[in-house]
Symmetry: C2
């Protein structure tokens, strides 16, 4: 990709697709992420792409608008109401899955899930209508250890470091502090407050104040408190000092602050060079189901690009689908969002155009049956091998190998076998036995 910005050009706006050499890199990423998640004992699952509308809806105002419902094409135009829809994240489907599969699972249930999600939003840089999310979550019965809040963050950091995506800034908060702020402001709960303050980076102070007044009935002092609250950022000391200065203290604020400060202190030791992991009370994430820690991460080099990693703790999500309380905590890595950004900034090295390692080629003296028999023999050594059928001229076969980036061409001319290294151009006598030995 030679340092030139790659223009992403999709057949349908918002629905990414890649050439084989780019897909090869994406596959390596998926494999590497799976390795990291498995190294911490997380098992892979997949859930259907589809859930009932009832399962998906009412989890946050922005996402509700973006749900893609399914209708059989034959029924379009009929006044049917949609019952099924494509999932927009992997957290809600997993909560439903845990409720359904409860009797078949051992708790704490630690799973990773790497699947496509869909949101009918306006496509723009980093925002797609179809994208792959890589999620890790742990769900337990009755309570889920606070240690997992740290484990999630640690795994995300390890994963992003291994993917070599460049420096990343994590911002962490705790919804309990937001709930405590709501109590302090005389509001019944923190849901609507969190929804509004989640927009603090996008809205002007004027617009934010207007929403706080009209939707929550806050007065000027309350609005000031909210705005100051959102500016509290930094390490454990900065968070504690900031909250003290604001003069907010109640059981929720104190519990949230302690959890957040402990977490920040704990993960500091696993922070790689160049990464930032800060508290930031403005972070609340757009989903209503978070109840504890919330995470968000961005590229340090592209601060205006949307968040590349996010998650949090949810105490009551599974409980919506079954009677028992099964709290969880998880983090989601926005694979497509990260991958396409590095791709368009030419920060990725392209992969292989083909998995073929050896092209069996020859002049007119080589019959198709001979070529096939030899290819099968070489394949049996564990190599990926192909033949270009119906192409008698050797130069065309060599050009094909060159165009596809096939590293070796096994050339048979008048019964003489030679292996040509396409990188160095060196050509030398070869036998299947010698080839097999060279791979062992």
């Amino acid at each position: 990709m030679a340092g030139v910005k790659t223009k992403l050009n999709f057949a349908i706006s918002g629905f990414p697709e890649f050439t084989p050499e780019v897909r090869d890199v994406e596959r390596r990423w998926l494999s590497l992420l799976a390795d990291v998640f498995e190294s911490y004992g997380y098992a892979n699952i997949e859930t259907p792409s589809v859930e009932t509308v009832q399962t998906l809806a009412s989890k946050g105002e922005d996402v509700d608008k973006e749900i893609y419902a399914l209708t059989r094409l034959a029924a379009i135009g009929e006044t049917t109401s949609a019952k099924l829809a494509l999932h927009y994240d992997l957290t809600v489907p997993t909560a439903r899955y845990v409720a359904k599969q409860h009797g078949n699972l051992t708790f704490p249930f630690k799973r990773f899930q790497m699947q496509r999600c869909w949101r009918g939003e306006r496509p723009q840089e980093g925002r797609y209508r179809e994208f792959t999310q890589c999620d890790i979550d742990v769900i337990d019965q009755d309570t889920v250890s606070l240690s997992y809040d740290a484990e999630m963050l640690e795994m995300a950091v390890v994963a992003l470091t291994r993917l070599n995506v460049g420096p990343v800034k994590f911002q962490v908060s705790n919804r309990k502090i937001m709930d405590g702020l709501a109590t302090h402001l005389g509001l019944p709960d923190g849901t609507l407050l969190a929804r509004i303050l989640d927009k603090v980076e996008k809205l002007s102070t004027e617009k934010l104040s207007e929403r706080l007044t009209t939707e929550l009935g806050l007065d000027a002092a309350g609005i000031d408190t909210c705005i100051s609250f959102c500016k509290i950022k930094g390490g454990p000391d900065a968070i504690a000092t900031g909250l003290d200065a604001l003069g907010i203290s109640n059981p929720d604020v104190d519990a949230g602050r302690d959890a957040l400060c402990n977490l920040l202190a704990r993960v500091e030791k696993s922070r790689p060079k160049g990464f930032i992991i800060d508290g930031d009370l403005a972070i609340s994430r757009g989903f209503d189901y978070y109840t504890g820690v919330v995470y968000e991460a961005r590229f340090i080099d592209f601060p205006d690009y949307p968040s590349i990693c996010a998650g949090g703790r949810y105490e009551n999500l599974v409980g919506q689908f079954m009677k028992r309380k099964l709290p969880g905590v998880g983090i989601s890595i926005g694979l497509t969002r990260i991958f396409t950004k590095l791709l368009s900034e030419s920060l990725l090295e392209t992969g292989r155009r083909t998995p073929t390692e050896v092209l069996v080629a020859g002049d007119e003296s080589l019959t198709a049956a001979e070529a096939e028999a030899l290819a099968a023999e070489i394949r049996a050594t564990g190599a990926n091998v192909e033949i270009l059928p119906d192409v008698p001229r050797l130069d065309k076969q060599l050009k094909y190998a060159n165009d596809k980036g096939i590293p070796y061409v096994w050339i048979i001319r008048d019964g003489v076998h030679q292996l040509k290294d396409m990188t160095s151009g060196v050509q030398q006598a070869i036998t299947v036995e010698a080839f097999a030995a060279s791979r062992a």
Copy 2:
């Protein structure tokens, strides 16, 4: 799964989901299939789940009815016409992909694709609304070598053998013979004839005759010819003899017969024990786009179960999306259909419930920080390691390891390290160095 039939029980009818230990087997299958396809030089791609309705529609009467269109939930009830829909196979999307990416690809373009597809059909045994297909196709410019007709079949046979799915019967025909039959019967082309004869196994002779009369205007002699035609099955000799006996010969019939008989003769040598690869002129597949060889495969032990593998040659599919002619041939392995059948017949060995190899455990003397530091050290040797936080009692930790099938528990008691083999129960002194050496 101990020889007992597993009842598949999904949250939403027609949308499969599996427990982690079953998903583990499905993942191994996907990896194994990828290895087979790569060993023949096929590169992986993925296409979006979504195509335009225009791209997907009008490829076959049955499938058109089953297309799932996407509508934003907010727009349900409005009289909008759907523009986007979920793909029902991977052939049409790949043809569209090749047209779009034409300038970025090297031909012959050999790709494999393992993705979910969706069809809004009535769920029943082997028929799901969401399912994973594993497709191999080769698409070339102007012509695609007939050798690939054999390579597809060979790869499918190798793949199914490696998956150890039991004996399979492949039925192969060639659409050109069907086209020739249409000419012989005085019909303009073979499309509608193929659609009707595709139902020969499902419809009574009476019902079939009725459709041939009303939809194609065939007389009794024509109907008899069709019914005799559909009975022509077997090896190259049986096919040639059968067509001679029917007295049909014209350029299409002869070209199709030669291609089919050559193919059957060629693949005979790679046929594994227990597998059948037969010609069968009744096979035409439900898609209108096939123009040459057509394949279909079924379990020999479950002859009434739907086809588990299918495909064919299409000369004009890519041409619908660009001006140039790019013919192709491919075969699709119905992963979900095969997998769920073996699962429900208890013919699969369950996989791992967790990837964890070592649980770090201890009595009350072990601190969380010590456990984490040790887990990180063991993880650095390449092992998958976890800790069960906040569980002080060792018996609970051992029970957890046992329930999840974790093979080793690293037990620390009063600073003494022992590794317990959960299968044998043997427990012996261990160090990280000794553990690393045992894995090397």
